[in-house]
């Protein structure tokens, strides 16, 4: 296996992941019904020789904001997935397994159903938070180390949300159903302001880095961690809190984009190992880059039609993951 992690290797890996994100953002700015070449993107971003004002407008007011939304969503989901997989010691954990997206979906679809379109995002966020609170109350948050119970409670609560979603879809007027379905699959059409999601991403990542080495200990069990001086209960609660917040922020921005939170951390672990000090920041950049690329494909592959990004994340991610998994095996 690989050598123990050093600060230099951490910086190197994170720099590579950040570079990949930057390239994905530039590619997203170039691609679309009007092609903008590489040089024009750089001019639009950094100024210099006056370029075409149309190209600058397309990049700065349309493509880049949407790409940054995609980046934030991917980063948030990958971060939440990494945190939950470690704290629950289960590689199958992800933000949605615990019912976060189900709660958000019921909130969002409920808002669409009653015609309160302006309140879709706040309702989604509230739904995600309520779902997390329900899971923790039912599973007994005082015993944050009882991970199988927490996971099982989350799965059952998620099934309950699923039933409510089906109910809303069946009573909704057919004109609303397509919008609801897009929301459920995860969609960035109309995403224009990335600031809130990017801020949520920055806060979540920085907070999680404070507990990164304690999370390494927790990955091997609560007793192991406590014997080495980790405050298990506090670390677990902080971890669940950051993961719920990050997942809620992502779902609020883009609906339930599946697959990213489950597979990005898992695939990265195969490549760079399971040290959270490098895995957490690398997952943010890799998840971000994945969703940026997926969203760019989503709006260009079937142009002028634009498909939900959640379809593409799964279509791109599934084979990539299967190949990685097979090689590692």
């Amino acid at each position: 296996m690989r050598d123990p992690l050093t600060p230099a290797r951490t910086l190197g890996i994170v720099a590579i992941a950040a570079l990949a994100s930057a390239l994905a953002l530039v590619a997203a700015s170039m691609a679309g019904s009007v092609h903008v070449d590489f040089a024009s993107v750089l001019v639009a971003l950094f100024g210099g020789v006056p370029g075409s004002p149309d190209a600058a407008a397309i990049v700065l007011s349309l493509r880049l904001p949407r790409a940054l939304c995609a980046f934030a969503v991917g980063g948030l989901l990958a971060l939440a997935g990494t945190l939950l997989q470690v704290v629950l010691r289960n590689p199958l954990a992800d933000p949605y397994v615990l019912g976060v997206s189900g709660g958000a979906a019921v909130g969002a679809l409920g808002a669409i159903l009653v015609g309160a379109v302006a309140f879709v995002a706040p309702a989604a966020f509230a739904g995600a938070v309520v779902s997390t609170a329900i899971v923790f109350t039912l599973a007994g948050h005082r015993d944050a180390r009882a991970s199988p119970r927490l996971l099982l409670t989350g799965v059952v609560v998620a099934a309950g949300w699923g039933a409510l979603i089906a109910l809303i879809l069946s009573v909704a007027p057919s004109a609303q159903v397509k919008g609801m379905l897009y929301w459920l699959i995860g969609d960035l059409n109309g995403a224009a302001d990335p600031r809130a999601a990017l801020a949520a991403l920055a806060v979540s990542l920085v907070a999680s880095l404070f507990i990164a080495r304690s999370l390494n200990r927790l990955a091997r069990g609560p007793d192991h961690a406590e014997a080495l001086g980790v405050d298990v209960r506090r670390t677990a609660l902080v971890t669940h809190g950051i993961a719920a917040f990050a997942a809620a922020a992502a779902v609020t921005q883009a609906g339930s984009v599946g697959f990213v939170g489950l597979v990005v951390p898992h695939a990265l672990r195969l490549v760079i190992g399971n040290d959270q000090r490098v895995l957490l920041p690398a997952a943010v950049f890799a998840g971000g880059a994945l969703v940026v690329v997926a969203d760019t494909l989503a709006r260009t592959l079937f142009a002028p039609m634009s498909v939900p990004v959640g379809v593409v994340t799964a279509l791109v991610g599934v084979p990539t993951f299967l190949v990685l998994q097979r090689r590692a095996g």
Binding site: P4, P7, N90, R213, R217, A219, D223, A227, L228
Partner: protein, 256 residues
């Protein structure tokens, strides 16, 4: 005079509403080796976890090197005592070296990376148990005995004066058992550390322990190994007639 590494007084230990022992008082000084002996389900692991501060006692007090355990911050506890669990559960891939480096956690500031010194300590601990050649291996691919020796290296690398071990000899063949416990006992004697071990093998208790806690039927008796490891006492404890074979450190007890 230095306070003992571990002092427990009037200790009542229990789990799930059941009292496992009451009014247990022990003092473990530097250089000593203690064995906890008793039948299945007597509460040996719970007693060990209580002494480690992982579960609170029902009554009584525990001091580590003179400081009350209950008021010690978790990090300070981790520098005063190390715990070897009965079994290791590895949910994720991790190299043997990384798993030993984890034991350096209480010695590092929250933002620090492991230093070359920590790496030297970890490699030396692996070498003590003859598993330094496995440093780069994923612990999930090791045999049970190899994994156990890596876990023993973790315990040693934590460099805590008090070492609490739950069945350290499990998964080890008879040669490895003696090699591992020789190394631990030597560390206790030469580095002013102490061992408190849950042991199932009575011959290992006789060979290494100078003090023994007999635990069973809701009570605990502590005393010199010579007095406690007695055929009559052990026959009553295990509810099975046992006879002693051999002499002194080389004696053992077999069912009649």
């Amino acid at each position: 005079m230095k306070p003992p590494l571990l002092a427990a007084g009037d200790l009542r230990v229990g789990i799930a509403g059941r009292v496992l022992c009451d009014a247990l008082s022990i003092r473990v000084a530097a250089g000593e080796v203690w064995a906890i002996v008793g039948p299945n389900g007597a509460g040996k692991t719970t007693l060990l976890r209580t002494l480690a501060g992982l579960v609170p006692p029902l009554a009584g007090h525990i001091h580590l090197a003179g400081t009350p355990l209950a008021s010690m911050p978790l990090r300070e506890r981790a520098r005063a005592r190390a715990v070897l669990p009965q079994d290791d559960v590895d949910a994720f891939a991790i190299s043997a070296l990384d798993s030993v480096l984890a034991a350096r956690h209480p010695h590092l500031a929250w933002h620090a990376f492991e230093r070359p010194h920590d790496r030297d300590v970890a490699m030396a601990a692996l070498a003590v148990f003859g598993v330094d050649s496995l440093a780069q291996r994923d612990v999930r691919t090791l045999s049970g005995g190899e994994r156990r020796r890596v876990a023993l290296a973790e315990l040693l690398a934590q460099q805590a004066p008090l070492m609490l071990l739950d069945e350290p000899s499990s998964h080890l063949d008879v040669g490895q058992q003696v090699a591992a416990l020789d190394a631990l006992a030597q560390a206790a004697r030469t580095q002013a550390r102490a061992l408190v071990m849950v042991l199932h093998d009575l011959h290992l208790a006789a060979r290494y322990a100078d003090h023994v806690v007999l635990l069973g039927e809701g009570r605990a008796d502590a005393g010199d190994a010579a007095a406690m490891l007695d055929a009559g006492r052990l026959s009553a404890l295990f509810a099975r007639p046992l006879v002693a074979l051999g002499e002194g450190r080389l004696r053992t007890f077999v069912p009649r």
